[in-house]
Symmetry: C2
DNA sequence: ACCCCCATCAACCGATCGGTGGATGCCGCC
DNA sequence: GGCGGCATCCACCGATCGGTTGATGGGGGT
């Protein structure tokens, strides 16, 4: 019997997952959570074999600062994954997500999740993934596998300096180099230098693509 | 007895909706569809009182050409809404969506849907919305109401032509005007004209801001 | 010492961009 | 007919951008 905790902020999705799990005779739903924090609390008290974790549970949107402290007031799926595994490394976590291009999938991988499935997957595939993970294997939806391959193929982690990010954010607002220079009390040559360094790091040749790629990579907020 | 057809491409979400509806004694689920086209076909054959319509059902992504013909091989939720209402104006359609800032919500409004609810809403609120729409009223989730207010407060609807959107999408990929011109088999002057018109419509002065604003407005995919 | 990263700055140049003035033709609507 | 929207195109011009060459100085690590 696989004992499962279901964590998803959408009541409809949560009951859809629960309904699916109740069709499997070897699966028992021991609890439901609607926030990352609740998921952590229930995982630690119920000690399920497995948690189905939605990655996109709400986090305060006021600032892009992640809360590295798991005891913070709100946790997304990846942070909840890390918190659960820190306290109970025996629990296995399956990440269930809508998108295969979400930066937070990579965060969940780094946090140690064992399964990565898409909500759009057929129900038999989800159940097969659950059994696989319960046996100690890793379950990976094909499109998520493709995402990992693409990410591994990009060898270096891209990291912009604070000044580079500042300049790029102003570019995203439509400001010209001279205007940015005036805003930051530096010369236009300095702005251009920061941008050229940014282009190198991102592997692009123009400001517009630098902005859109930085947004895709989560370097700039969307 | 309210007879309902449920249209959603995610099996989990669909069964979650069906499970919710089966808790209501005055509701009968008469069918389930997983694509826009299937939703249209079932709506026309089953003649439900109401369709729960997911807006984000897959459409082919191979070309930016929209298929204006509802009989085309694939339909998103808004197009399916229009097709159903064209043939059966008596059917009421509730749009169920994840996001409140989705451009396709506005398309569904224009297509004549009667209800707009969020998947994240509590289940009682979704049932209340269903009953309201079945009585002939309009059901509107508060955040979608806020979206409409914001959209109405911006006097002119921003609408780019297909060609303008094509050009802007290539700009977002970092392509220069000469490169875009070659890609689209037009002159550079044509590309510049499309861009200038786009800047006017969006109220911006440069390509980069045009791209980021178009993304914020849902005109370009993020 | 060296190396790397970061921030700052300059001059020069060609390419590109945005703006401004036009223009044509097609389609749909009144 | 007129009007508006759309797609296409031109020439010209100044501003901006991206690239290329440098340069300085500070801080941290080995």
């Amino acid at each position: 019997m696989i004992r499962i905790l279901v964590a998803d902020d959408h009541p409809i999705v949560r009951s859809g997952i629960v309904a699916l799990l109740q069709t499997a005779p070897d699966v028992e739903v021991v609890g439901e959570a609607s926030t990352g924090r609740e998921a952590v609390a229930l995982a630690l008290s119920l000690k399920p074999d497995l948690v189905m974790m939605d990655l996109r549970m709400p986090v305060p949107t006021s600032t892009p600062n992640p809360a590295p402290n798991p005891a913070a007031s709100s946790l997304d799926g990846a942070a909840a994954t890390a918190a659960i595994l820190a306290a109970e490394p025996g629990i296995r976590i399956i990440v269930l997500t809508t998108y295969e291009s979400d930066e937070s999938i990579l965060a969940a991988i780094e946090a140690g999740a064992s399964g990565y499935l898409l909500k759009a997957a057929p129900q038999e595939e989800i159940l097969a993934g659950i059994r696989s993970v319960a046996r100690g294997e890793v379950a990976l939806a094909p499109s998520i596998a493709a995402l990992l391959v693409r990410r591994v193929a990009r060898p270096a982690t891209i990291s912009l300096s604070e000044r580079e990010k500042q300049v790029l954010a102003l570019v995203a607002k439509g400001q010209s180099n001279p205007t940015i220079a005036r805003s930051l009390f530096v010369s236009e040559a300095t702005v251009k230098t920061h941008l050229l360094h940014t282009f190198e790091k991102l592997g692009v040749n123009d400001r517009t693509r630098a902005v859109t790629l930085a947004m895709e990579l989560g370097i700039l907020p969307r």
